[in-house]
Symmetry: C2
Subunit: 184 residues, 2 copies
Amino acid sequence: MKTIKDYIVQNVRDTGPIELPFGTKQKIAAKDHVLTDYGQFETSVYFIQSGVVITTLLYREEQRILDFHFPESFCASYSSLLTATASDIRLTCYKDCVLEVVDYEELQRCYQTSLLANQLGRIATEQLYVTRVQREKELLTMTAEQRYESLLKKNPGLVRTIPIKDLSKYLGVRPESLSRIRRQ
Amino acid sequence: MKTIKDYIVQNVRDTGPIELPFGTKQKIAAKDHVLTDYGQFETSVYFIQSGVVITTLLYREEQRILDFHFPESFCASYSSLLTATASDIRLTCYKDCVLEVVDYEELQRCYQTSLLANQLGRIATEQLYVTRVQREKELLTMTAEQRYESLLKKNPGLVRTIPIKDLSKYLGVRPESLSRIRRQ
């Protein structure tokens, strides 16, 4: 299982010893455990060591899946962290998870003085940003069918393991439509 | 007209003298000037001192407006910068602009050692990220009418100065539908 230190070696700097400028705690959470709920103020950033986390949004009392988060990436209710408002998304463990947890208050203190903390924060945010832009472009320009194909190309493993009812919540189509698309 | 230094004082750190770790150039560009075109590799980051820049995306030979960028914010074809791929968006001066230009290669060199460069890069990316997430949520959950109302609330000045044909390209509705929404 990869750690935040491994993420740094792979994405931030690959030479010299790495001393994390903040503490982390390991959290083991079972499938369906809610990490952050609608209306809560986010206090942590999670690095997924194993498992899958989903972020959902309520839309007319229906859950829409914003994203699936996989090992070796960060997740949190970022908008809640960055704008200090109550979260309008929910983070749920979609499978049993092992998470490395960073306290955001401590991270912010590190941001005052630590080059490494800022490099890590910048690069992790850049990666999140690119993912979001990609998804926005797809929502603006692709049909559900094309978005399904794009997902299949990017993440064949995901498409195999995730039930059609959840995939359809992610793609924003009805399960019957997705079944039809799949058959084609 | 505000500069990148002013942005740093306002958003990054508000004490002590600020020495930019990279050089910047001022660029004066007329309305309709294309800063970065489809297929180009982005090489700069722009800080808007005055004017408005739009980013557009081609969708079935039609231009869709991804965003309007206003003074005191950064813009660039970020996905091109961050993934070193050809740009799939175009940046155009929507009005006459004065821009402060940062060379991305130089910025990347600064990211190796400069705390301030990384703090600036992190915070500017965080702000961009929050904006994108907001827009994605609106695309997923709001009707064109609600998105128009949300834009009106956030940016009444924009709605006043931008022609209905461009607003409709941003909202993803036909101009006639937008006129109808406006009358209501």
